[in-house]
Amino acid sequence: MKGLAGRIIGVIVVLIGVVALIFVMLRIIPGDPASVLLNEHVSQANIDRLTRTMGLDRSLPEQFFGYLAGVLHGDFGRSYYIQQPVSNLIMEALPFTIKLTLLSIAFAWTFGIISGVASAMYNEHIIDYLFRGAALLGISVPVFMVALLLQYIFYFRLSIFPLTYDGSFASLILPAIALGWNSAGSIARLMRSELMEELDAPYMDTAKAKGLSYRKAVLVHALRNAALPVISLMALQLSGMLSGAVITESIFSIPGLGKLALTALQTRDMPLLQGTVLFTAFLIALGNICADLINTLLNPRLRTG
């Protein structure tokens, strides 16, 4: 548990670093929120007035430490553009992203593991080629492409699912597949190669010799050994999912964290972007700690280290 405490301190340091980095970066890139808010109907007097209202006329260290002090008190500031407390906006958006991520993890794991196992068991068989092809598509086709293809097939041609998110469970299925597609592909490929290695291991002969069927031997013995690296990969993919959610949420109009962050970036809404990035970094750090814990629990060799 000493390791865990160290990890938690590490996370706090990383989060402060993230805030500092995003704070500085947002002020280096061109574009200011007052201009975006006024857009075409701009005048110098209005820019100056809004800059003062937003507190952007203060010095950079003053703004940074002011923000940090606020964050430590749980105050993430107000969005310039949407004019709501940032923490409210994040909490409104979070359930959508969680639903989407959970569903796409469910898809990625089910599809990835089943196709990986099937590929390995029926090596060089037609099933293997089919699943390997699908997995290759999964890792090589970008998320937005998959999303468009899914919309075209399942909405436009087949009318099975809604085009965009409308609050129903059915309308979350296409986004979940689009987002999980990539992860499913990598899981399938890793699962297949790990399992293939295990299939040649001597204990498989023992298993068969004691009278187990091939399927049972694979599912009970080989799969258990092959699963370790796959589980590590799956845990790591959580953070990838959060970044993929930015694109998926935009395409399917899901009012989640990714879409919020994207809007914030486009409008240079600094408090909102700082808030969403900080929160996402926190989620990723949390995910990584969980991944480590799971790994340690599953793999006794790591426990002493």
């Binding site: 061109p30 975006v36 109907h41 004019q83 699908a134 097939i153």
Partner: protein
């Protein structure tokens, strides 16, 4: 759990099968399609009964409070009312029509307007509208720390003092009784009534706004106006729902419910073809798709087109060497092949503009048209005479949030300039960076559009050349202070003949003599309507935002 599991596996199988079959053809899935088609048909029948109109937005709105945004007018236009509105007549000209104001008269010095409010108007919660609400509205525009609409209240006497915090109330508005009030301007301003007819000048209720506090413009149930619709639901990032306001003072519209969904361009196109959208805004989707799918015989009767009252122009920064040389700017005016851009990129949907005010704008003057001809040889000669025979490097800034058509136009302009020896480089930046760069006054050149907010020449000419600050924020840095002073002064001319003459003279001076910009064209705005829509009237100036009440369903 197991049901979900089976569903998932079926889904995966379907995905793989249809993925493989997509290239080969779709004959094998026709059975599924038939089943699906009958489902959709059922859904459509439900919608048809209920007066529902379905539209799409390309991005979410930021607020429903029009005092805090100058971008998102779709909601304000439909839930609030203004004192006047603008109607487009059959001949293409516009007229100002009474809305919340029942009548008005103007004093002889041209400064004081006396208004009478329409009787019996209530906000959607039943609160009656009074003249006090009007005064409150304009005071709020000026005192809100993050107000985006101060331009609309500034002409009123005492507005600057209130804005600067030197006064606690707006001196220029006098409330006489519940229905009568007068507005005094600091100087006569011919465009004032027209400016009251824009969504920016929507009238709020003092009681509703004060009680709602920070929730006004954010929570639908607290954001109420006198307009024909009420927002019933706003899911941030996803869409908005509206319902007819039964307390509305005007005629009951044909559209009873509205759903606006936020969609990506490809999704809009699919949804429209599938019958899930009633109005498709062609400016929001890819222009190649518009041309290949919608500008065909199949959709011939479904296209609604309106002339956008707005000038597209190519601005040149006079602070940048050698664009500070008027001969160079004139050469650029002659070098751009506007006609072929209009034909090839916009499929001829528009007309060339040679001045500042677009076709249809008050004071539009035919004599200032037709003088600019595409003449690359002449342009080369001008460049040589100006001492730039070997050409020079210049930068064109491009906002990547623009439509593909705008991006293609910039490419052609760069090519046209290269043809006369000017090495034009395109610098692509995102919208926020673009605005920042332009407002700083350092953008070398850019292609942009100004759509009129209200039909008055001041709305466009003052924006770009009305004062020193404006010439900087628009990155033209026009240097002739005498002309700038004349643009400011032109606002106050009340006599119509004199006003027309001065605005025409200013247009000629700025565009023809000083070549401040390359006037390009004004374009048509196309919409496609579904079979459920009998009549669709776009906004008079061709905005993407429209009044739901002006749409008739079958």
């Amino acid at each position: 759990m197991t049901v979900k599991h089976i569903y998932m596996i079926a889904l995966i199988a379907a995905l793989i099968l249809s993925g493989c079959g997509a290239g080969a053809g779709n004959t094998d899935t026709s059975a599924q399609q038939d089943a699906a088609a009958s489902q959709t048909a059922g859904a459509q029948a439900d919608n048809a009964d209920s007066g529902l109109l379905r539209g799409a937005l390309n991005a979410d709105i930021t607020t429903m409070d029009v005092h805090k945004t100058s971008n998102d007018y779709m909601v304000p236009m439909n839930i609030y009312d203004t004192l006047f509105t603008i109607r487009k007549k059959d001949d293409g000209s516009t007229e100002i029509v009474n809305s919340l104001a029942e009548s008005y008269d103007l004093s002889d010095d041209g400064k004081t307007y006396h208004f009478t409010l329409r009787d019996g108007v209530v906000f959607s919660d039943g609160t009656p509208l009074t003249a006090k609400d009007v005064k409150f509205t304009f005071e709020r525009i000026l005192t809100l720390p993050d107000s985006a609409q101060t331009d609309y209240a500034i002409p009123i006497d005492g507005a600057q003092d209130l804005l600067d915090g030197k006064a606690d109330s707006l001196k220029g508005i006098t409330v006489e009784d519940d229905h009568n009030f007068s507005i005094t301007l600091s100087e006569p301003y011919a465009g004032f009534l027209a400016s009251l007819a824009t969504p920016s000048a929507s009238i709020y209720s003092e009681k509703i706004v004060t009680e709602a506090g920070d929730d006004f413009g954010v929570l639908p149930e607290k954001t109420l106006g006198t307009g024909p619709y009420i927002v019933t639901e706003w899911t941030r990032g996803s869409g908005l729902k509206f319902e007819y306001n039964p307390r509305y003072w005007g005629e009951e519209p044909s559209v009873k419910r509205v759903e606006l969904s936020i969609m990506e361009p490809q999704a809009m196109n699919m949804a429209f073809q599938k019958g899930d959208l009633d109005i498709l805004d062609c400016l929001l989707i890819d222009s190649a798709i518009v041309k290949s799918i919608y500008k065909t015989d199949a959709y011939k009767d479904h296209i609604v087109s309106i002339d956008r009252m707005g000038t597209n122009f190519f601005m040149m920064n006079e602070n940048v060497e050698p664009l500070n040389n008027v001969q160079v700017r004139k050469a650029i005016q002659m070098a751009i092949d506007r006609e072929s851009i209009l034909q090839s990129i916009y499929d001829g949907d528009g007309q060339l503009e040679d001045g500042i005010y677009p076709t249809g704008c008050l004071v539009y003057n035919k004599e200032n048209q037709g003088w600019l001809k595409y003449d690359p040889e002449g342009a080369k000669k001008l460049l040589t005479d100006a001492g730039y025979g070997d050409g020079f490097d210049m930068e064109i800034c491009l906002d990547t949030s623009n439509t593909d058509a705008v991006q293609n136009t910039v490419q052609v302009i760069a090519q046209n300039l290269n043809d006369i020896g000017i090495r034009a480089n395109i610098r692509s930046v995102d919208h926020a960076s673009y605005l920042d760069l332009r407002n700083s006054g350092d953008m070398s050149s850019y292609l942009a559009l100004w759509l009129l907010d209200f039909n008055d020449p001041d709305n466009i000419i003052y924006t770009f050349f009305g004062n020193k600050d404006n010439t900087k924020t628009r990155s033209n840095n026009y240097a002739d202070d005498a002309v700038i002073a004349r643009v400011t002064a032109a606002k106050t001319i009340v006599d119509e003949t004199e006003r027309n003459k001065e605005y025409a003279a200013l247009e000629k001076k700025l565009v023809q003599d000083d070549a401040v910009w390359v006037p390009m064209f004004s374009l048509k705005h196309l919409f496609v309507i579904s079979d459920r829509v009998a009549e669709f009237t776009p906004h008079w100036a061709g905005w993407s935002d429209f009044y739901f009440a002006q749409t008739e369903l079958k």
